[in-house]
């Protein structure tokens, strides 16, 4: 039996988690819409599309955490900043599933709930974006040394 390529394994993990997470989110998180209204029928495909995005982002984030760590360990000169950048990217992928669903459950009238989401998700994503900007700058400042005549 031939071994599956890295891309296939990555895609399988991302898609399986994505597919499982969509019905799970519909069962676990009941939206709390303003005024007790229900979602409009024409809007439902758009909400479903968002669920697909969230599920695939979650799956990609998990696959990134699983397959990215060995790469991180074997990278030359891996620093705490690289580790932080790895977690920041993973956070930008996995957070949307709990984040958007908690927004839907908590609704807009629960002030402390909304503030908790703002600080747990939005604030941490702003910090993560700062980490990624610094990482990007460091990569530019210190390009990898390449051996002349080597295969790239």
């Amino acid at each position: 039996m031939t071994k599956l390529s890295f891309r296939w394994r990555f895609a399988i993990i991302a898609i399986v988690i994505g597919v499982v997470s969509i019905p799970t989110s519909i069962v676990l998180f009941q939206p709390n819409l303003p005024g007790g209204s229900s979602a409009l029928a024409p809007a439902l495909p758009f909400f479903l599309g968002l669920k697909v995005f969230e599920g695939l982002a979650l799956g990609t984030g998990v696959a990134f955490l699983v397959f990215g760590y060995p790469l991180l360990k074997r990278a030359r000169g891996s620093s705490p900043l690289t580790l932080l950048a790895y977690f920041a990217i993973a956070w930008y992928l996995v957070n949307w599933w709990p984040h958007d669903n908690l927004h839907a459950v908590i609704g807009i009238y629960n002030l402390w709930g909304v503030l908790a989401i703002e600080y747990v998700f939005h604030f941490t994503m702003m910090v993560a974006a700062g980490v990624l900007a610094v990482f990007f700058y460091r990569v530019i400042r210190q390009p990898p040394r390449r051996v002349p005549g080597s295969l790239q």
Partner: protein, 171 residues
């Protein structure tokens, strides 16, 4: 004639732009947008709301500085130009979007249910789905950067030896 200030290294210039943009956007927030935390809320919640606005403004300032100073350097990245540019845009978007994004959410709070649903959907697709797509781009960017700096494994080993020996090793 252009005057150069050698003492103003990139960190000072980034901090300067960040603070200027944040300093302008912070008071502007209360003119343009509805409050994130309603006026009847307790002082603790008000404080948290102001803290969040401050962080959003700083993130926007950092994003403007990143977009301004990062662009000339994008070509130096050891990945394809398209991936480098997409990653640069992604990080810039991650920083600048929050000020508009969070306050647009606050605008929806005052809409009637149908308007709330459609505007929320638009925000979700433009901001949330946009950030998810950039998350995938940045994951690829990160993996390519790590592969370019990796010392062990197939790619790293081949990169570390002269070309003829590497070709022979591959065969």
């Amino acid at each position: 004639m252009r005057v150069r200030h050698p003492w103003m290294d990139v960190r000072v210039r980034v901090a300067f732009i960040t603070l200027v943009v944040a300093g302008v956007s912070f008071p502007l927030t209360f003119v343009i947008w509805p409050p994130l935390v309603p006026p009847w809320a307790p002082p603790g919640a008000q404080g948290l709301g102001y803290g969040l606005v401050a962080v959003e403004c700083l993130a926007m300032g950092g994003g403007v500085a990143f977009l301004a100073f990062g662009f000339p350097m994008v070509k130096r990245l050891p990945v394809s130009p398209r991936l480098a540019f997409a990653s640069y845009l992604g990080i810039g978007y991650y920083l600048v979007n929050w000020w508009t994004h969070d306050h647009l959410h606050a605008v929806t709070f005052s809409l009637e249910p149908t308007g709330f649903i459609w505007v929320t959907i638009a925000i979700e697709y433009v901001f949330h789905a946009g950030m998810m797509v950039f998350g995938g781009v940045l994951a690829l960017f990160f993996a390519r950067i790590l592969l370019a700096t990796s010392t062990r494994g197939p790619a790293g080993d081949l990169a570390a030896v002269p070309a003829p020996a590497a070709i022979a090793a591959r065969r």
